[in-house]
């Protein structure tokens, strides 16, 4: 009754409030006033904001949300004196005509209705019995009530439901017909319609056994997990993109598949909970358990330039504390980020303690997320084999055989001689001149390297002029060198990484104005970051470049750029080298670099050039070399000797194979635990304010949570607490959500708020019974589903009687079944299934069905277009559609799929013209209609009326009425006429969608039938579960 509550301010408060009090329970609440049902909601809505849990905003130090507060004495007066409304200050204050004393104060905009005042008075008069908030009480197994019609119930659920219906002097609805039952069960349990032949068989066997068998069949179907996953993915905010700003892809779909598997395997919900929150922390965690821990990383994250890591880490932390509140506790924990909760006893400290539970999750505040590998068993075996081979080859390459020892000695001697003779391959040269176009200060250091400081422009070009004695040159070597003045001691002032977008070389004779451009033939580097190969530095493009992940691992790196032809050099010539840093990453210029030149024919990184340290060691007399130098020489020799060329090549090939394999292996953002970050209470949620207390991880205090005494609690502790008997919420919350899936509305309607402002359950004993049963069964989800759908309550007709429509318009007594539109994904699945187009493969990477051109044109960094999949990717179930948070596939969005930026326990259903437009015009549905039409022509028989009956039955599992048949027949006639007169139109319509058009069918006829099947797919009944 949200709607009516919000209307209270319209000036019809009395009427609205009466409706509010009555409607959820449908029938007047005769008998004694119950605190939790009748009184607490009034106090919460009207009083708690100033006299509730938020200590900062509490007025007159008065609390009405606790027993102590409510029954306290103030200045000799009782707030509430049981049995004596006249001596109760509360009763006086709500009714006084003195505006200064009146509560709630008129300026608050709140006012009690006469009904509410009377209820409060009555409650006090009846002795003011007090109860703790229902949802926070321990779950008990309540006795099953007696009923007057013992033959009706099929199980205990029915006894609770019937007892209430009987109390209201109503009767349950008759059992639904077989067709409705099998459709209802199929949609509810698998999200798919039944096959017409199954419907026929089900109709022919009306026994309870047949019903039970069908339930079992559906529970065992692989699509059962898909159906529950659809719901769960909303709750945990699963999506394929990271959600903020550029909203880029990140791979988490293995988590989605884990969820499907878990529901299919009937994994106990407690284990399911533990694995998602802390699978990585379980002893000997399996791959599946680590995949499950992706839950912790499903929240949004940013790559936006200029975002401050600290701010975003605070956002991620808060998101997790909100999410765990919604998913397991149905608690609006987010309210306590800035202040104590206004209605529920959730303190700010509780909020940050929850945050602290997740403080060990490894993540950066800003930037792209890299996932962990999720290999299939075969891939894991391949990986193991390759790793073994690599280890073996590495062993070979470091194993100094006698032969190699001898060869090394010779090599050292010869190379040392070369060095002495000045035949060093690479000559490091001191630049004549170095200029930064962006104004940076470039200083030559003693080791001939050049260091940047001062101005730090976004983009820069270093122009270096060199002069050498060597008569000709074949290549240039660039060393990027770390320096303590760089970010993290790395390679640039931005973040330790650089992006060298281009290298240009020119040669000139001294004194000549024009220089000749030197063509660069190839580039090699000792390391290139993924996506930034060194070849990018000579491709002439400013939006590609060479980078070395210096922000992650600061280390020296070098690259060699070989000239296409040797270039004449000498003292009278100069060489100009331009290093360009023009990428979209700002200030990514190399902070310290050194250039060397060579004249040898085939320069490379390992063979011809000698690292400084090696050269230095070789210049030492053999006897004077230090142990470190000896070791260095050995390693260097082994790295370059031709004697090991074969294993070296093998190693390179094996590594390449491994890389290729790794590139094929899916990844997901598993949780990786690190040393926990310090978590502080952020005053008013302000991330810049470090003055708040440091907090330790713990569940909320009002639920009995407290930091552990002997050690820091972990996510695993939190997860175990969530599914412990000490926590009264998890089981209640989950069974209530299941109930909503199968009965249309939760026993407590607010699926995401079991706090004081939530809704008092219509059947509190049943809710507790279900919660207790759930835990007693070992958190068996399928057991609970089975109980619910085998109940007679479930099997009732959804056809409402006049009496029920009037007495219980919102179906809160469950004296009939609910009817509602199927979910967005299922609207799609159903059409594809009816058409015969559905590819019902389970799991795998997300897919891209049709999406209108240009829909993604507002995305940037990078700009991207949605490329439709081809083949089966076009016909997968809706839950596999690529879930782009900021631009969700618009057909799904039209049918109320949510962007999953926040945890969402319930989609807000709507009925809009955009839904009509999508079903009418989205190529998905047009294609489904034409493929369906081809089936009608193939299988429906030659008589038009019979074919209409066949088509209708395919979609709706019933025959059309005579009127319905005539409407469709009329449409067929008119469209056949139109398309026959204009076959071109027919071909255009049939060209919609990628699936082939059967050649043996006449285009006008197929097109006309497509109009008929379009109409059928657009029917309300087609997309309704009833």
């Amino acid at each position: 009754m949200k709607r009516i509550t919000t209307l209270a301010w319209l000036g019809f408060a009395a009427l609205a409030a009466r409706a509010e009090t009555n409607a959820p329970h449908a029938v007047a609440t005769a008998g004694a006033v119950a605190f939790n049902r009748d009184i607490r909601p009034i106090l919460s809505d009207n009083c708690f904001a100033c006299h509730g849990p938020d200590s900062a905003k509490r007025k007159a130090k008065l609390r009405l949300d606790t027993r102590e507060g409510l029954f306290a004495e103030r200045d000799g007066k009782s707030i509430v004196k049981p049995g004596h409304p006249n001596q109760s200050e509360l009763a006086r204050r709500i009714a006084t005509s003195d505006e200064d004393d009146l509560m709630p104060p008129p300026k608050s905009g709140k006012a009690l209705t006469k009904v509410q005042m009377a209820l409060l008075q009555r409650w006090i008069a009846e002795g003011a019995p007090w109860e703790g908030h229902w949802a926070y009480q321990p779950v008990r197994h309540p006795p099953v009530p007696e009923v007057k019609q013992p033959a009706w119930p099929n199980n205990d659920i029915d006894r609770f439901i019937l007892a209430r219906i009987e109390k209201e002097r109503l009767a349950p609805s008759p059992e639904a017909d077989r067709r409705s039952l099998i459709r209802r069960l199929s949609f509810d349990l698998t999200g798919l319609p039944p096959k017409p032949e199954d419907v026929r068989a089900f109709e022919q066997d009306p026994s309870l056994e047949a019903y039970g068998q069908w339930v079992e069949r559906l529970l065992a179907s692989p699509h059962f997990g898909e159906r529950l996953a659809m719901y769960w993915l909303d709750v945990v905010r699963y999506a394929d993109t990271d959600g903020f700003h550029a909203d880029n892809y990140r791979s988490v779909w293995p988590y989605r598949d884990y969820v499907i598997r878990a529901f299919n395997a009937d994994e106990p919900f407690d284990q399911f909970t533990i694995e998602q929150l802390a699978g990585d922390l379980l002893p000997n965690a399996t791959l599946d358990q680590r995949v499950a821990s992706t839950y912790n990383r499903l929240g949004r994250s940013t790559e936006e330039g200029g975002a401050q890591p600290k701010e975003y880490l605070a956002k991620y932390a808060a998101d997790r504390a909100r999410s765990v509140g919604t998913v397991w506790l149905a608690a609006t924990t987010g309210c306590a980020e800035c202040h104590d909760h206004k209605f529920d006893p959730i303190t700010t400290r509780d909020f940050y303690r929850l945050e602290a539970c997740f403080a060990d999750i490894k993540e950066a505040g800003v930037g792209k997320r890299e996932g962990s590998l999720v290999p299939s068993p075969e891939q894991a075996a391949d990986l193991k084999r390759l790793d073994g081979q690599i280890a073996g080859l590495e062993q070979t390459l470091t194993n100094c055989t006698a032969e190699l020892v001898e060869a090394q000695a010779k090599w050292a001697e010869a190379t040392a001689a070369d060095l002495t003779a000045g035949k060093q391959a690479w000559a490091t040269v001191k630049p004549e001149r170095v200029v930064s176009a962006g104004g940076a200060t470039l200083t030559a250091l003693d080791d001939l390297s050049v260091l940047s400081s001062g101005e730090n422009p976004d983009h820069d070009t270093y122009t270096v002029t060199l002069c050498t004695d060597q008569p000709h040159l074949t290549a240039i070597e660039l060393e990027a060198l770390t320096h303590p003045t760089m970010k993290n001691g790395g390679l640039s002032r931005a973040n330790g990484n650089f992006v060298l977008t281009d290298v240009e070389v020119e040669a000139a004779r001294a004194g000549e104005a024009t220089a000749t451009r030197v063509e660069l033939a190839s580039a090699i580097a000792d390391f290139s970051q993924d996506g930034y190969p060194v070849a990018n530095a000579i491709d002439g493009k400013s939006d590609t470049g060479w980078a070395v992940a210096g922000h992650e691992k600061p280390a020296d790196h070098r690259a060699v750029f070989t000239f296409a032809k040797p270039v004449a050099a000498g003292p009278d010539r100069t060489l100009t080298v331009r290093l360009k840093f023009e990428s979209s990453f700002k200030q990514h210029a190399i902070g310290r670099f050194r250039l060397s030149l060579t004249s040898i024919d085939h320069p490379d990184l390992t063979g011809s050039g000698l690292p400084d340290a090696v050269a230095k060691a070789l210049r030492q007399p053999a006897a004077a070399r230090t142990p470190e130098q000896l070791d260095l020489l050995k390693r260097h020799f082994l790295a370059v000797t031709p004697l090991l060329d074969k294993p070296r090549a093998e190693l390179a090939a094996t590594r390449k194979e491994r890389e290729a394999l790794v590139a094929r292996i899916p990844t997901t953002l598993m949780t990786v635990a690190v040393e926990p970050r310090v978590t502080r209470i952020l005053p008013r949620g302000n991330w810049m304010n470090d003055s708040g207390d440091i907090v330790e991880p713990a569940p909320p205090e009002f639920l009995g949570g407290a930091p552990l005494k002997d050690r820091r609690a972990t996510r695993l502790d939190l997860a175990r607490w969530l599914v412990s008997r000490e926590n009264p919420l998890t089981a209640r919350v989950f069974v209530n959500r299941l109930w909503k899936l199968y009965f249309g509305v939760g026993i407590s309607k607010q699926l995401d708020n079991f706090g004081v402002q939530g809704e008092w359950p219509t059947h509190p004993e049943l809710l507790d019974w279900l919660a207790a049963e759930f835990m007693d069964s070992g958190w068996d989800v399928k057991h609970m589903v089975r109980l619910m759908v085998n109940s007679r309550t479930y099997r009732q007709s959804s056809q409402e009687s006049e009496e029920l429509r009037e007495r219980d318009p919102f179906n809160r007594l469950y004296a009939r079944q609910a009817r509602f539109r199927i979910d967005a994904e299922m609207v799609r699945d159903n059409a594809l299934s009816v058409a015969g187009l559905l590819v019902d493969k389970v799991g795998g990477p997300s897919v891209k069905p049709y999406q209108p051109a240009g829909y993604w044109d507002q995305l940037n960094f990078p700009k991207r277009t949605w490329e439709n999949d081809t083949g089966e990717g076009l016909y997968r179930r809706g839950l596999y559609t690529f879930w782009c948070r900021t631009f969700l596939q618009p057909s799904l969005l039209a049918f109320d799929a949510c962007p999953r930026e926040e945890s969402t326990a319930e989609r807000m259903p709507s009925n809009t013209p955009l839904q009509a437009l999508a079903l009418l015009n989205d190529p998905t549905y047009v294609e489904a209609a034409r493929v369906f039409a081809a089936r009608v022509l193939r299988c429906g028989g030659s008589d038009a009326n019979a074919a209409i009956d066949w088509a209708f039955n395919q979609a709706l599992d019933r025959k059309p009425t005579a009127t319905e048949r005539e409407v469709l027949a009329g449409l067929l006639r008119e469209e056949l006429q139109r398309f026959s007169a204009n076959p071109e139109s027919a071909s255009q319509l049939l060209a919609e969608g990628a699936s082939p058009v059967p050649a043996n069918l006449k285009a006008p006829e197929l097109a006309a039938w497509t109009e008929v099947t379009r109409a059928i797919l657009n029917l309300h009944e087609t997309i309704e579960r009833f």
Binding site: R3, I4, L7, E964, A1015, F1026
Partner: protein, 476 residues
């Protein structure tokens, strides 16, 4: 789930379609839920009439056109003249101002003053100070009301947009257009009540998410509908290839006939809603192309806006905004994504001015000459401003002080309000927070921002969260 949709429709259908006898109480309740019913509105119409009925205040504005300058327009090159910055160009900003303050891309950088890149002058009888790079807007100086003391909470585009549109950085809340539509309903039977258009050019092309016009926890009938210039003007608006208007009509008629048949058995009010949504969809298929077709506009009008047709430019979108306003669309948002000038702000401003200046002014002028400005509120505002400090030859994001203007219904014309300090850094005189702007906008529409609430997760949410005050001095 009892959404405004289902609850009210359930009740009003039952009460008025005559299928069932109801107690008097429920009839009264139904009329309360949809007072339009008592005024004789057709019971099958699904045009939403709004929950603020009667209005909280006499409305000055019936609709809003929000020219949304996305990317963060520099106040220092538009409406906030700071000669001091020219004096101190290249010199460090006083640390007393910048100490401990948040910056975006200037993290760890030297914070030096950066001179205004264009001269300012006084315009109109009111002598409003406006940057000469925007001559057409400046020519309306006596028409517009400038606020120079805006401030907001979030320093990155995505979250700042979310604050500007929904009043908070947390996602899932309704955007202002959705709130207004929910509150006031739609005056137009064949167009959505909340329309969004986007264009770009002139600066870094920052993305804008659909979240910015999402209905959040309100039912999705209140979400903004984006009109595109290419392809389908509205998603899935175009009929399938080979299906002409008659064919489409016949399919829809067949669907509706069958749905009526079904309703006679199922008695589900959702079916009647479905029928009317198909009618609305059909009407939209006719009305939207008509709306987008600018061929009926005079050459003089096209020239005034600076467009040749519905080509996706800001100019064309401004003209479409006027056409939407004429048709009674409640909330129209025209984004231009071209203001993110981290570098090259001088040329950037010139380019973006070339794209938005003329059309912004033309819209106000056009509305006025058609008598629409009297009840249309035009707002020209971005998600934040830009730093007085240099970022190379541009400016970084800035949230402590920025400028915007309004014109039309109920707004004081030729008026300036609020000021930043001499550096253009902090809003120091009469600061106006985004919440205040929202409260003022709602006030002009006849809505008390404290009373337009919606209960979600047990709390009564509102556009202005827990803050916001109507800025009375801005009111005519």
């Amino acid at each position: 789930m009892t959404s405004p949709d289902s609850a009210s429709l359930l009740l009003n259908r039952r009460a008025f379609l005559g299928r069932t006898a109801l107690g008097l109480g429920q009839v009264a309740l139904a009329s309360l839920l949809n007072p339009a019913l008592l005024r004789g509105a057709p019971a099958t119409s699904d045009v939403w009439r709004g929950v603020v009925n009667p209005l909280h205040f006499p409305a000055k504005a019936k609709r809003v056109i929000w020219l949304y300058m996305a990317g963060g327009p520099s106040h220092l090159e538009t409406f906030d003249h700071k000669p001091k910055l020219a004096e101190m160009h290249g010199q460090p900003m006083p640390e007393s101002i910048t100490q401990g303050q948040q910056v975006a891309q200037l993290q760890g950088q030297k914070l030096n003053c950066f001179a205004p890149q264009y001269p300012f002058a006084r315009f109109g009888q009111a002598g409003q100070e406006i940057c000469t790079a925007f001559p057409r807007i400046a020519s309306l100086a006596d028409e517009i009301c400038i606020v120079r003391s805006m401030h907001t909470d979030q320093i990155n585009h995505d979250t700042a947009h979310t604050v500007m549109n929904t009043g908070t950085a947390i996602s899932g809340r309704p955007s202002m257009g959705s709130w207004v539509l929910y509150g006031l309903g739609n005056e137009c039977a064949d167009l959505p009540g909340f329309v969004v258009m986007l264009s770009s050019g002139g600066g870094q092309d920052q993305p804008v998410a659909t979240r910015q016009w999402s209905s959040g926890f309100l039912p999705s009938r209140f979400q903004g509908v984006r009109f595109q210039s290419g392809g389908d003007p509205v998603l899935y608006l175009n009929r399938p290839p080979g299906v002409d208007a008659d064919g489409q009509r016949r399919v829809i008629e067949a669907v509706n006939q069958l749905n009526r048949q079904y309703d006679s058995v199922a008695h589900d009010p959702e079916i009647a809603t479905r029928i009317s949504q198909y009618e609305m969809a059909f009407k939209m298929q006719a009305s939207v192309p008509g709306l987008m077709d600018l061929s009926g506009e005079s050459a003089q009008t096209l020239e005034m806006y600076g467009t040749k047709g519905a080509d996706g430019t800001f100019a064309a979108n401004c003209l479409l905004a006027r056409r939407l306003a004429e048709r009674g669309v409640r909330f129209i948002q025209v984004y231009h994504r071209g203001w993110d000038h981290h570098g090259g702000i001088k040329t950037g401003i010139k380019t973006v001015s070339g794209l938005v200046d003329q059309a912004s002014a033309a819209l106000v002028t056009d509305l006025k000459r058609r008598g629409l400005l009297d009840d249309t509120l035009v707002i020209w505002c971005g998600e934040f401003g830009r730093t007085p400090m240099a970022q190379g030859d541009g400016r970084d994001h800035h949230i402590k002080g920025f400028s915007m203007w309004m014109a039309g219904a109920g707004v004081k014309p030729g008026f300036s309000y609020g000021a930043t300090d001499e550096f253009g850094y902090n809003a120091v005189e009469n600061p106006v927070h985004v919440h205040d702007l929202h409260a003022t906008m709602l006030y002009l529409l006849g809505i008390d921002h404290l009373r337009l609430t919606y209960r979600f997760q047990g709390r009564d949410f509102r556009l202005t969260d827990v803050a916001g005050e109507v800025v009375k001095p801005l009111l005519a």
